[in-house]
Amino acid sequence: MRLTWIFMWVAALSLIGFPPLSGFWSKDAVLLSCWQAGQYGLFAVGLISVILTALYVVRLMGLIFNAKHAEEQNMKHEKEASSLMLAPLGILTALTIAIGLGGPWVEEFLSNTFTSYFQDSLGLTAVNNALSNTGNNFLILEIFVAVVSTLMVLIGMFPAYRFFISHKSDPTTFLSGHSSLRAIHQFLWNRWYMEAFYNKVFLNTGLALKELAIKYVENPLDQLLNVEVPAFFAGVSRGLRKVQTGILSVNLLYFILLFIAILIALRGLGVL
């Protein structure tokens, strides 16, 4: 898969920001503006991320094209992709290189476009107009940023190359040698423990609440309203049925009691 390999390497290098591909210019512009704006912290973070990008992109390429156990995994007979799939890759690769070679001009064009857009349409004037983009100092700064960022790219690419392409050293053995690295690895492997946090706070609480709701609210309410209230009425009905014996003398007794009760009531009301 020679062509795919070439196209992907071009894209990978551009992603890393390897000069003179298109990724280099845009990254360089970002870093330069950080420095100019006095945001040295952001500048440092940017540099570190350059290392990381270089590392994982080279690792990706190594894992795909220079796998250690390629023979064992029966991957030797992979065929090149069809030209219909390769053509768009080729076009995009060519564009990456073309933009890269014409980088400074593209940047200037974009810069002018955005400046006028921000000014005319949004009414924002460029803040760093005070910092002059010309002169000797600026040239030194530009070269400095370009050199530093390229250096960072190389720093990132070097271990990745050893680990995943030349296989000179093994990442697992390297990791097992350092306990602090292992801890960092563990932390990152668990995605900063964010998922565990979400699980604990949202998922487990929710599930626990659902159990509590059923055990302490739903079941007692259900028992009270659907079992005990009907049972109460059933009990009253049973009690009343016991009173109804059907024996004449008992019924007469009720009759007399009722009669007396009515008399007392009438007396109480002052009728009698």
């Binding site: 609440l209 659902k210 159990e211 709701a213 059923i214 659907n226």
Partner: protein
């Protein structure tokens, strides 16, 4: 085109056919479902026609017949206006869809309960089914309170008979439980109606306006509220619902879920529409009850493993959203509340029917025994996801439009009147996350993951069971994309 007695026909035609089906339907057996479908389709079309008539002029369609000329002077009227028509139409539509669904479902159920020879049971079912639909549509269209009460009972008694004859598990006891609870609610409503008569001297709904703000009005409002809150299964009054809706035959469970929601229509029509001054005194307690019910209902739903009972429990929480919207007592909140009720009817009908399909195709209701069924029954899985989307308010289905209107109303009320309203709104919005959990989690448990060994040869449900559900989802999609179809109606009445 002018059809005579159009609204009377909507009520009378199904009653006549109920008699015909009941008396002469024994020979036809399960195919009676198609007759019922035709009848209900006809009444649905009549309602659509009425809708066209009033959509144009923004007015209403009113028919009145003399019932009793002596004291009390009773009229038997039907009013189709912007509020009653969409509600009546969607309820009729749900009944129409469920009639088709019933054909295969009830065949399965009747053969299971009464054997293959019991073709007589079909006429019992379909005859009662028609009465049931009359009851629901009648509540929406009626113009006086006694008439409304009659229709409420007409919806209740058939559903009682249905659980008793065709329900599941402990069906006789649960039918009785359902009947008593709902009857208590209806009785409180009736007491409210009669007390109102004592003050107004009329059973007309519009006459309620004269007692608004009086102390009698307060008691009438309270009685009607409590009566319907029992029927709507709000927190504290909800314990009957998981049983009743869980053990119903599912072709009906979908429709009795609409009885639960009907309270929202009654609130909007009677209390918000005619006695707003009195109704406003209940605003805060009603909102609190709604929020508590939303959250409690959600957790209760999450705790279920039985698919039918799960969808039954979700009705508790879903209905409470509408109550919250109505309790905001702002125009947009009430419109949203009624809209959400309409949307929920469509969604719940789909989901209950899916539960019925699962039961008839797999033979179990326990979700722990299911999984990976999407490959075996892709149509059912799709429609289940659509139903879940309606309930959890995911655009472009109708639930979303309804829910944001409803919450706009609640926020508006909180902004203008009391800050407590904002608290309710925020809590309830957070609770909508729970809705997503309790609608999609069961879908995942049933349709995705590992297919158990004993479910390897489960078949897709028959088309006559799935197609009506897709039709309902389509209606939900249409009113979700064009909410004006509903809101333009509602806005003419709710101002």
């Amino acid at each position: 085109m002018q059809i005579p007695f159009i609204l009377l026909q909507v009520i009378i035609v199904p009653i006549i056919f109920a008699l015909i089906v009941g008396l002469f339907g024994k020979r036809i057996g399960r195919r009676l479902g198609w007759i019922v479908f035709a009848v209900l389709l006809y009444t649905s079309l009549l309602l659509v026609l009425t809708g066209f008539n009033i959509f144009g002029n923004g007015g209403q369609w009113f028919e009145e017949y003399n019932w009793s000329a002596t004291i009390p002077n009773l009229k038997f009227g039907f009013r189709a206006d912007g509020l009653s028509l969409p509600v009546a139409f969607v309820m009729n539509l749900v009944c129409t869809a469920c009639a088709v669904y019933s054909i295969r479902y009830m065949q399965h159920r009747i053969e299971e309960l009464y054997g293959k020879e019991a073709t007589g049971m079909y006429r019992v079912y379909y005859s009662i089914y028609l009465l049931f639909s009359v009851g629901l549509t009648g509540v929406a269209l009626s113009t006086n309170l006694i008439e409304m009460y009659l229709f409420v009972e007409l919806a209740l008694i058939p559903s009682y008979i249905m659980i008793d004859l065709f329900g599941y598990v402990d069906r006789h006891r649960i039918a009785m439980m359902y009947f008593i609870w709902n009857h208590v609610g209806a009785a409180l409503f009736l007491i409210g109606v009669v007390s109102a008569y004592a003050g107004t001297g009329s059973f007309e709904i519009t006459a309620l306006a004269t007692i608004s703000g009086t102390s009698l009005g307060f008691w009438v409002c309270l009685l009607m509220l409590v009566g319907w809150l029992v029927k709507m299964a709000t927190f504290g009054f909800h314990v009957w619902l998981p049983y009743a809706h869980g053990e119903h035959p599912t072709s009906i469970a979908a429709i009795i879920a609409t009885i639960v929601g009907l309270g929202n229509y009654v609130f909007a029509r009677l209390l918000f529409g005619n006695m707003l001054t009195t109704f406003q005194t209940f605003q805060i307690p009603l909102s609190i009850l709604a929020v508590v019910t939303i959250i409690y209902g959600a957790f209760l739903t999450m705790g279920q493993n039985d698919v039918k009972r799960l969808y039954a429990c979700s009705t508790i929480s879903q209905t409470a959203y509408s109550i919250l919207g109505i309790a905001s007592m702002t125009t947009i909140g009430v419109v949203g509340g009624v809209y959400y009720f309409i949307s929920h009817m469509l969604g719940k009908c789909i989901l209950f029917s899916v539960a019925g399909i699962m039961l008839s195709q797999t033979g179990t209701r326990d979700m722990n025994k299911m999984g990976g069924l999407a490959r075996r029954m892709p149509l059912t899985a799709t429609v289940c996801i659509l139903g879940s989307m309606i309930l959890s308010a995911i655009p472009p289905l109708s639930g979303f439009q309804a829910e944001w209107m409803l919450f706009t109303g609640v926020f508006q009320q909180g902004n203008q009147a009391n800050a407590l309203g904002l608290v309710f709104a925020v809590i309830a919005i957070l609770a909508t996350f729970l809705t997503v959990v309790y609608t999609f989690w069961p879908a995942v448990r049933m349709f995705f993951g590992q297919l158990p060994e004993d479910m390897k040869d489960v078949k897709e449900a028959p088309i006559s069971m799935v197609a009506p559900l897709f039709a309902l989802a389509l209606v939900s999609l249409i009113i979700g994309v064009f909410p004006e179809l509903v809101t333009r109606f509602l806005n003419t009445v709710i101002v």
